[in-house]
Symmetry: none
Subunit: 196 residues, 4 copies
């Protein structure tokens, strides 16, 4: 049962960190403020995380984990490459759009952190790019997508479009739903991929 409680407390700290970092940015966020929001003492943070950096790190991992896992699951559900790609686009925009604070971390703070802890983060982005790349390859093999496109390049281009939409949504604090862009985004990507 202690385990249960621990798990809860660790998550509470992570949740608090997401809110604080989203609001203040990583460097302006103090451990004290995270602790206060999580409703624990400053020192308690250090029972669950080695240091401040580890908090950020774990928050990223948690978020990227969802993208990768749900991305994979989504691929298995659908069969056609076009459909798969549409699902990825929708999933990406939905997941980002679900939680603005988390999105700020992923779209804004993560970028910055890439700088000094790229090994992990970039590896995870790489994993995500691979998922997209696989869908592209499948589409090329089935003849749905043009074959003269490097799948690695295509994956990056697709990610770039998704990412800019997400960043734009995060920074323009409008109250639109990000998923509503799904069709337009998929349309643009699809135009770039289809055999014409």
């Amino acid at each position: 049962m202690a385990r249960q409680i621990d798990g809860k407390k660790k998550e509470r700290i992570q949740d608090a960190a997401v809110v604080e970092i989203a609001h203040w940015g990583y460097y302006q966020t103090t451990v004290a403020r995270i602790a206060k929001r999580a409703g624990v003492a400053d020192g308690t943070i250090y029972l669950y995380f080695k240091n401040k950096e580890e908090i950020l790190y774990s928050v990223f991992e948690r978020a990227m984990g969802r993208f990768i896992n749900e991305g994979r699951a989504s691929l298995e559900k659908s069969t056609g490459a076009k459909e798969k790609l549409r699902n990825i686009v929708e999933l990406h925009l939905t997941l980002v759009g679900e939680d603005r604070d988390q999105a700020i971390i992923t779209q804004v703070e993560l970028r910055h952190s890439l700088h000094f802890m790229d090994q992990l983060s970039r590896a995870q982005v790489g994993e995500y790019l691979e998922i997209i790349g696989k869908a592209v390859v499948q589409g090329q093999e089935s003849g749905e997508f043009r074959a003269d496109l490097d799948p690695v390049f295509a994956a990056k281009a697709i990610f770039g479009v998704l990412d800019e939409m997400a960043t734009d949504w995060v920074l323009s604090r409008r109250n639109t739903r990000l998923e509503s862009k799904t069709s337009a985004v998929f349309d643009f990507i699809w135009a770039g991929l289809r055999v014409c």
Copy 2:
């Protein structure tokens, strides 16, 4: 002539800041280290900049200024929309690829800073997006590009692709030339825009 010398010193500080921030990130960069690299005293920095943030700010402005100015010039040179777009792609990748340190600022540090000084920076990105958007509109009016595309959306999508390529190049420390991606990038974008 005093102005001349002053101007030089201000630029030296900015140049030093670019190198230091690219290497250490904004928050890990100390004013003292910038001063040392610029060959001036710590206090001298404050004769040219109100505070540390202003340095970062001015470095962004300088960089974005080049993108906007050269982007505009490029638009005027060419007449056809397709050609214009191709020039923008080439220009973007060339400018980013020219100076890796500066690129790190723009691609990595800028993102983070958008967070707390978005009003200006985003405005400048907006200005840049507008330049791209104008080329799209022209292409639609001339019938070169499909008309069923929101130009604002298209500009963002194009910027997203360019931006991901730039970020990828910055973070993967390979020694390739970024401009070499021009054709592939333009090809992808063009496929998404042309009347099919």
Copy 3:
């Protein structure tokens, strides 16, 4: 029998403290580390000791107790003052040389602690000095030792020599046996005491 077990646990904590403090010094030793080495929970420490200082305190007491008790016993065994003194020298060097960790506490950490808890510790050193002093007095009364020497001063001088040898042995991490110095030390002291 519960007492028995408790007693064992208290001793285990003291033993662990000796090792840890000898290795890390008093201030660098954490209660948690002592607990871990003793194989008990952190909180358990406080069932046996009022606070961290008390642990150190009790470890000193235990060690000084042995010096005083064995010193006294030694005095009773031998009859002649010269012999008594020789026994004290040998005993001191043997006891110190028996356990390096304990010696580090006594020779190095004790000094530091004298500073803020001198009342007790110094009292115990005083007790030990008295034992030495009594041997001196006896020697003077029997005519074996010169009479023109203040016994209190002589005791301190003798203790000083013994102490420096012990400290030197502790700090120079050589593998010599400390007792091997007995003859040389006694010889020097004897020269200072005898009627010439």
Copy 4:
């Protein structure tokens, strides 16, 4: 002139540290308290010392330096070995007796610190022991001192006596003058050394 001022400020910090450490012990002394006593800001400390440990370190060096330098000078002044030794005894007790706070550092705090920074401190004690040892050797060569004594051992024994007197004086807060012990101490040592 800046140099002059710096030198003064550094010394002021060292002096403040001596008083504070003597009163509170090294670990209970805070940098803030040293700064306050020295009349400088906390941060200023770090312009002159890399960290807290360096302060202690430099204070030791300064103190031991005096012992070594004045010890050497004293050796050169006198010619006979007996006289030299007497001078060392007097000098040692005088220097220690001059400044109780400084003496606390040397007699109490230094011991403790030997534990974790012995390389330097013990080296300096070693240098001091050598000075004593040389006087012993000279006395043996001239026939003043007995030849059957290991000079290294003799130096340690002498140092031990001096040291115990100093420690005893520091810890017993009586208002006696430490130099007044010179004759008694020298007498005891001399008895141990002379040809009998």
